[in-house]
């Protein structure tokens, strides 16, 4: 019987913290089995051995923030039959997309003594802004169980079974008492996609939205509840929407809407930072 050729997988990194690709190495129980089912052809963090493309599956971590990377992602796409992004940076630009609301030259001069040595783009953007993406796995970081499901589904040639419901659904399933109702905590669960296992409410804190906006997220209703029922300041609301998925459309808009109500407060802070 002829042995079937193992499919080739590559892991790529753009601007990111490495946490999502680390999730692959964190699959301690499955890693060696997985290595027997798919050829890990390019995974620089884990191996010196690099096989040339094309690759059957590429996992892409990180956001596009430099002119070179904007070119490199196109090459990765050309070499990849299926391209799946992993994590918040690759989905919506990640936390480094906070620069998109500011002047990046000013940012450079805050961090670096010689800003002229630094080459960077004005915006940090997700991969789908640059090339076609076949599937986006959410999370900051991704959930490793979901990552395994995505790889397995790819190997079987089926759609990954990844829920697109809100964190609230997971939270109920876990048997948590709703902290937004019971404790009046500002929780982003209602507008955030499930996948984490509702860990924040399980640890007595509000969800902070690290899996990004769920489909049809009703951010305006949540903002109204926060403002009217929970007495949150516009600044607190802006910060909640503008952290790990600040550049994802519903969160971007909601944060900007909150910000409109707080221009005087922002001016005060900017003056103090000077």
């Amino acid at each position: 019987m002829r042995r079937e050729r193992l499919k080739k997988m590559a892991v790529w990194k753009f601007a990111s913290c490495d946490g999502c690709q680390l999730s692959l190495l964190d699959c301690e129980d499955e890693l060696l089995t997985l290595a027997g089912k798919i050829k890990i052809a390019h995974f620089i963090e884990a191996s010196r051995a690099v096989m040339r493309g094309p690759y059957d599956l590429s996992l892409v971590e990180g956001s596009i923030t430099t002119p070179d990377d904007a070119e490199r992602i196109k090459e990765v796409r050309r070499e990849s039959r299926t391209l799946i992004t992993i994590g918040a940076c690759a989905t919506s630009g990640g936390i480094q997309a906070l620069r998109n609301f500011a002047d990046v030259r000013e940012f450079t001069s805050i961090v670096y003594a010689r800003p002229e040595y630094i080459h960077t783009l004005a915006q940090s953007t997700g991969i789908a802004d640059h090339v076609k993406v076949d599937f986006e796995l959410r999370g900051c970081p991704i959930n490793k169980r979901q990552l395994l499901e995505v790889i397995l589904a790819f190997l079987k040639g089926r759609r990954p079974n990844i829920a697109s419901e809100s964190v609230c659904v997971e939270c109920k399933a876990r048997g948590n008492i709703c902290i937004a109702v019971a404790k009046g905590v500002a929780c982003m669960g209602p507008v955030t996609q499930a996948g984490c296992g509702a860990i924040c409410p399980a640890y007595d804190r509000g969800c902070y939205g690290c899996f990004g906006p769920k489909e049809h997220a009703n951010v305006n209703s949540l903002r109204a509840d926060w403002s009217e029922q929970k007495g949150l300041s516009p600044l607190a609301m802006e910060r909640l929407f503008h952290t790990f998925h600040a550049w994802a459309e519903p969160f971007r808009q909601a944060g900007l809407a909150a910000k409109q109500d707080l221009t005087p407060e922002i001016q005060r802070i900017e003056a103090e930072c000077e």
Binding site: K13, F14, S16, C17, D18, G19, C20, Q21, L22, S23, L25, D26, E28, D29, L31, L32, A35, I40, F43, I44, E45, A46, S47, R48, V50, T65, T66, G94, I95, Q96, L98, R99, V104, E106, F107, T108, V111, A113, R114, Y117, I118, T120, C140, P141, K144, C196, I199, C200, Y203, D204, R205, Y208, C210, R239, T243, F244, I269, E270, E272, C273
Partner: protein, 441 residues
């Protein structure tokens, strides 16, 4: 450097480090003229966008600097903010933080020892390849790593970017029952970690010593982790708030990471070698006896032996974690109360790969006015270059492949986390031989 007498050896990538970078070496007649460790991990500007955020957000935001050592970022952040606010956590909360940090030391060190570093000594490209002929060892590594990760999951809420850490303590103190489940796997991991020390101590190490200025934390009674004074082998003995007086960051053109130096002296080394050389007597019992058995030298000067020290530190962290868990009988109040106010604070903690410094200045309502973060890899970067500068001259005649591999290994000795400071290291060796024009292949 592109005339006919110049030779460029291009080796595609230095892998098995965390982050993106390249190494550039220029040699003439076997003498090293220039070594540049370049980091091209794109800048992400954390210190800039922290301005205007609330200090309470610092632990969640700064964790995202590094997916390999998020707990280190959270620990330095909360300690620095607490210092600014004059907050001290209770003893049980301090223990819980230590437990969480032990979890990260165990998983990060085990990742490095088994998946990134050991393959170098045994001639494999990666751990998956190594698993074919060393299945028992690789399984052991995965089991130890899993035990460390379980601590981070239970105490922190998840393995990467834990959600339970906050200024003043935790959002929720884990229940004794949850913590107890960790004990048995940790005890099994401890036995395996002891075997790991014996295993790696039997590797063969290149004959190479260097004695940089070692810098680490020192605590009167504990092997350092969350707190202590910053001390060095050259006599530095300061509090975290004095860090900027003693150390300076310089920006060099070829890298996106800033270099740190001791003011008036130059490069220094933090991390396992420094910690061990300055605090060896404070290791937990089994770890200390393993050190006495396998590291006879008073000061370990071989950076290649960092793999032994990391393995000993895994044993230490496991012993420490077990000790904390065994006395964890009831959940303490999860955090101490405090109010936000204006102030400035700094903290240094021991990330697995070295010192991590955070400093914040806060306004009346706790808004961050100014933040400074110095990750371990940017502190070690210059010292890594110095290692190569000293290592290469006597080995210049080695075949290209071997020389390159040795350079990679010398860099991996220090477990650079290049996302903190950068992902692949592209290695280029330029060899200039003007006298006879012989070029290596």
């Amino acid at each position: 450097m592109s005339d006919s007498k110049t030779k460029t050896i291009k080796v595609s990538y230095l892998a098995r480090v965390e982050g993106e970078g390249a190494l550039h070496v220029r040699m003439r007649k076997g003498k090293v003229e220039d070594v540049q460790l370049k980091i091209f991990e794109p800048p992400r500007f954390f210190e800039a966008f922290l301005r205007g955020r609330n200090a309470l957000e610092a632990p969640d935001i700064t964790a995202r600097i590094c997916g390999i050592c998020p707990v280190a970022y959270q620990m330095s952040a909360v300690h620095a903010v607490e210092h600014a606010l004059g907050v001290t956590v209770t003893e049980p909360l301090r223990d819980l933080r230590r437990l969480l940090y032990c979890g990260e030391w165990i998983e990060s060190h085990t990742l490095h020892v088994y998946m990134l570093h050991a393959p170098d000594f045994l001639g494999f490209e990666d751990a998956m390849g190594m698993a074919k002929s060393h299945p028992k060892e690789v399984q052991m590594g995965l089991a130890i790593k899993k035990a460390g990760n379980s601590i981070v999951s239970v105490v922190g809420g998840r393995e990467v970017h834990p959600i339970n850490v906050k200024v003043g303590g935790f959002h929720r103190a884990p229940r004794p029952g949850e913590v107890r489940t960790l004990l048995e796997p940790l005890q099994r991991a401890l036995a395996m970690a002891v075997d790991t020390v014996r295993w790696v101590a039997g590797f063969s190490f290149p004959d190479f010593d260097r004695e940089p200025e070692f810098v680490a934390l020192r605590h009167p009674t504990e092997y350092p982790m969350c707190d202590g004074r910053v001390v060095s082998s050259e006599g530095i003995d300061i509090d975290a708030v004095q860090f900027d007086d003693q150390f300076a960051e310089i920006h060099v053109p070829y890298t996106n990471a800033l270099h740190s130096v001791v003011k008036g002296r130059g490069s220094y080394l933090t991390g396992p070698l420094a910690r061990f050389n300055l605090n060896r007597s404070l290791l937990a019992t089994t770890a200390r006896s393993l050190a006495d058995e396998f590291l006879l030298e008073i000061i370990v000067k071989s950076p290649f032996k960092s793999i032994i020290i990391r393995s000993i530190e895994i044993v230490h962290a496991l012993e420490e974690a077990i000790r904390i868990i065994e006395k964890y009988r009831e959940s303490p109040a999860p955090s101490v109360p405090f109010t936000l106010h204006a102030g400035a604070g700094a903290a240094v903690t021991e990330a697995p790969r070295g010192l991590l410094y955070h400093r914040y200045r806060l306004s009346e309502d706790g808004t961050i006015l100014d933040a400074k973060i110095i990750p371990p890899t940017s502190q070690n970067q210059k010292s890594i270059e110095d290692d190569l500068r000293d290592l290469l001259p006597s080995r210049a005649a080695l075949p290209k492949g071997e020389l390159t591999h040795l350079c990679e290994q010398a860099i991996r000795n220090h477990d650079p986390c290049i996302s903190c400071a950068t992902h692949f290291l592209r290695l280029e060796i330029h060899d200039v031989e003007p006298s006879d024009g012989t070029v290596m292949p």
